[in-house]
Symmetry: C2
Subunit: 275 residues, 2 copies
């Protein structure tokens, strides 16, 4: 049997480990997608304090994998600093919405690209982006970036690949950082049929750095991240949009929503209503 | 008047700066391509000791820009360590020949690609490459890399771009480093007509790092490099092939040779015979 696992928040029903008691709320990176499960206590990340003033789904969003990916991309690999010009693709997704807010908190000028006008509004009005554009309308990416980045791009959080990356490489500043979180435009194709990026030569003259990353390689920084992010959340400096699907039967629909342009923010399944 | 400048070695004819005297041999990053010239002493890098046992053209090869580029690529950005699998493109060029030898000295397994069978022999017999191939014969780069890198590629010193880079990205190991020194296959084309690289998505799963560099950004390391490289040269641990063109009238021919595949190693013009 193949079990699909996910980052999850759960309530302890019964425990043989004295560190955990019935009723504890726990965070785990490898919960099976299931209503009930048995897991070894060694895989639990930590207990969650339900009185901390942070709503539970946030532990899967700002404080979970997407928030951590945003933090690694913007703070570790992106080296965000005051005055940097940051561009976030897939900006209204789970990673992007946190990344833009983190970059703003570090003093960057932040522009996002996303797939609908409603999301453009969300980025500007709720997540504090300096500006944002709908890539389905501004189809000449090169012209769009000329308009939004008159002083060039210092940080590009890469989530889409293909033509957008190519356009970005025409606008990078010296020593630009391009943390590569994903390339969603490239996932559903045989690689030889994908759009090639033709201007990689630009990374020589601009001394740009492109670096792929998986959050699993940065787990030694997870505690630092948690302290910083909890602080932002408690101070109301970062917020997150979470789309909650109800019941385990919504799994396939929720997964599919990741690949349409329909979703906002982080997708979470609420398997059981909290009692 | 536009003056073409180059890294050069010269003999002082007359000096108004007491640090330099007639007859001193000096190294400079910005000599005009000329038989005689007047330069401010502030731009001279240093005096060369002609009794140090290092032939003068080597100060433009192993100890000059190509050697420094190789050192930055292999030791700084490539993080070469014992057991790393290193691939050097344009391996018989000025940078490549030094890069391969440096990688060997750091304990790497080193394979090179180059444009003729004679250069393949040179790499294996004179520069200590573990193996090398002629890219004009092994035209299926993907198959060639499967053969030469059964355990994948940890370091790729990128000098060519295009199809070779694409093939490499199918063979990179986790956390591979790709210092990008140049992309000579891409120089003579309008960018929209260049070959696109279609498999950049691989850098996410492999967490690969691609980083363009110019030696001018690493000048704070030039002294460290010089000490290390002079030591290698005096111990005979590194050698270099230098093609010397005679007389300033050979400038255009020597420049053209960089783009033809005909040259071996570093190209130097001997403007005046040493007296």
């Amino acid at each position: 049997m193949h079990v699909i696992t996910a980052f999850g928040v759960g309530r302890v029903m019964r425990s043989k480990d004295e560190k955990y008691s019935e009723g504890d709320i726990v965070l785990n990176a490898f919960f099976p997608v299931a209503e009930y499960c048995v897991v070894p206590s060694s895989v639990l990340i930590r207990k969650i304090d339900p009185e901390a003033g942070i709503r539970l789904p946030e532990y899967l969003s700002c404080l979970g994998v997407p928030g951590f990916a945003a933090w690694v991309g913007i703070e570790v690999l992106g080296e965000a600093k005051p005055g940097s010009n940051a561009f976030i693709s897939a900006a209204a997704g789970g990673v992007g919405m946190v990344a833009g807010q983190l970059a703003k908190l570090k003093g960057c000028r932040v522009i996002g690209s996303t797939g609908s006008d409603a999301k453009v509004r969300l980025l500007k009005e709720e997540f504090g982006y300096d500006d944002a554009f709908n890539y389905n309308k501004e189809t000449d990416f090169d012209a769009a970036l000329s308009k939004y980045f008159p002083n060039g791009i210092d940080i590009y959080l890469e989530n889409v690949g293909g033509k957008m990356l190519e356009a970005v490489l025409n606008h990078v500043n010296p020593h630009a950082r391009i943390p590569v979180c994903g390339m969603i435009s490239q996932y559903n194709q045989i690689w030889t049929e994908r759009e090639g990026v033709r201007n990689l030569l630009n990374i020589v003259g601009k001394e740009a750095r492109m670096e792929g990353f998986l959050v699993s390689s940065y787990l030694d920084r997870f505690a630092d991240f948690t302290v910083e992010m909890e602080d932002y959340l408690k101070q109301g400096k970062i917020s997150s949009k979470i789309k909650i699907y109800e019941g385990i039967q919504s799994f396939v629909e929720s997964l599919g929503s990741l690949f349409s342009s329909s979703k906002f923010g982080k997708v979470v399944i609420e398997v059981n209503k909290p009692r």
